[in-house]
Structures are given as C-alpha cells and as structure tokens.
C-alpha cells in the first residue's frame, strides 16, 4: 500500500488524472484512510482551482491604445509592402 510520501509524490498526476488505473485505485484508498493526505489533496485542488478561476485584470486603456496604434502602423506598412 502507498505511504503518505508516495501519495505526495504522485499528487500532481493524481490531480491531473494521468495515473494508471491501479495506482489511482491504491491512492484513492490511501486518501480515504488518511485524513492528513485528504486535507493536502483537498487544499492543493482548491489552490489550483482558485488560480484558474481568477479572472485577469483589464488592460489599462492607454496601454491597449499604445499597442493598437503601433500595430496599425505596422499593418499599414505591411499593406504597402505587399
């Protein structure tokens, strides 16, 4: 049976669901029996989820305008070259 150390080593693959079925099954059992590993799994899962769910901030208007203006210039140059 896997130890807590084994579980920790496989945690990322466990979260990404990229383990072979028998290893997965053994780790499932370990998590059911080990409250500490359950907490580590739960809080790591929440850590990833909270980062994924955080919407990116808006780009400041002056920054976007500066970029679009530089691009328009480049696009126009390309148009005249082709």
């Amino acid at each position: 049976m896997p130890t807590c150390k084994d579980f920790l080593r496989e945690l990322s693959d466990y979260l990404d669901d990229s383990l072979d079925p028998s290893t997965r099954q053994e780790l499932d059992q370990h998590v059911r029996d080990c409250p500490n590993c359950w907490v580590v799994l739960d809080t790591t899962q929440k850590t990833v989820k909270i980062y994924k769910g955080c919407e990116p901030q808006a780009v400041p208007a002056n920054v976007e305008n500066r970029l679009l203006a530089a691009l328009q210039k480049k696009i126009a140059e390309r148009g005249t070259c082709s």
């Binding site: 980062y51 901030q57 780009v59």
Partner: protein, 211 residues
Amino acid sequence: MEYMTSTEPRREPLSDEQLVENAKQGDPDAFPQLVKKYSRRILRVGRNITNNDEDAEDVLQETFMKAYSHIDSFQGNSKFYTWLVRIAMNEALMKLRKRKGDKVVSLDEQLDTGEDTVTREIAVWEGNPEDRYSQEELRELLDKTITSLPESFRTVFVLRDIEELSTEETAEALNLSIPAVKSRLLRARLQLREKLTRVFKRKGEDAFAYL
C-alpha cells in the same frame, strides 16, 4: 481579397485560425481582434513572471508586435494562443533577467533544500475564499503569493495551471524535459498550497475537525 470583409454579416466570431489566416492575407481588422481577445491574459503572464506593472506592459506590447511581425512563420502546428504565450514567456523572462542583472541580490535565488515537498500546514480551509474576499483582494493575494515562488517553479505553474498549456507544450516552451515540468509543477503547487493555507485555514478548535 479572400478574407471576410466587415460588411458581410458575421453570425459567429471567427476562430483564431481564421483570424490568423485573414491577418496573413492583409485584413487590417483581423490581428487587432486577436489582441482584444488575448491582451488581458498576456498582460497577466507578464505580471506573474516579472512582478512589475511597467515590465508587464512592455511584455504585452512586445509580444503582440513580435507575433504580428512573424505571423507568416506561424504554421498552425500549435494553437495560436500557445504560440503567443511562448513569445510572452520569453519576453517576460528576458525582462526579468535584465532587471536581475541590475541587482546584487535577488529574491528568486532561493536555495533548493529539497524540503519544498514537505507539507507543514495541514489544515482545512475556512469556507470558500471566493466568498470571503473581494475579487480585487483575492487577486492581490494570489499575485503576491505566486511571485514569491522561485522563478523555475513559477514559470511552470503559470503555463500549466493558469494558462492551461499541456505538459508537453510547457516542456517545449521552457526547453525542459517532461519529468522536469512535472517535478516543478508538483513543487509549485505544494508551495502555493502551503502559503495559501496559512491565510485561508480554519482557525481555533475546528481546525482539525476533519480528523
């Protein structure tokens, strides 16, 4: 002209592949649409890596300018966003290196003690952080936490877990082996978990109620 003109009714937004193709064909509206679609995410990559607003804004500008200049070399072997985020990561790392060169000591240069997969904080979180903090407070906290990670972990976490590239795409973008990506991702996730648990954990008598 082969590209779709703006006078034609558009039932649904064009795909990235179509916009890239139109940009290659000379449609002046195509590439700015890609900018509008992805600028927030590219700015976020810049911020997460450089931890500096001015540098992040430069990363945004340089990424799209470079992408447009090289649009003809984009063959569509990868997704457009994957290609774009690789350019952004390179730009951000160059900024970081340049800034580090100006400093004698860097916060990023932490020694690898091999203890970063040790879990010290074992406690459940108090409720749902999204309900307890405003978007702005949460973002500030998450930004601060991620920028405290060593660069080698941060880059992998940003590409894999925030920008959602595959392990293979991340390995290619950072010129790493797949086992190296996996090992760094695990350590990044565990370090972030450790740091966030210190903030979000349930305190007092209920802290170990799961036992």
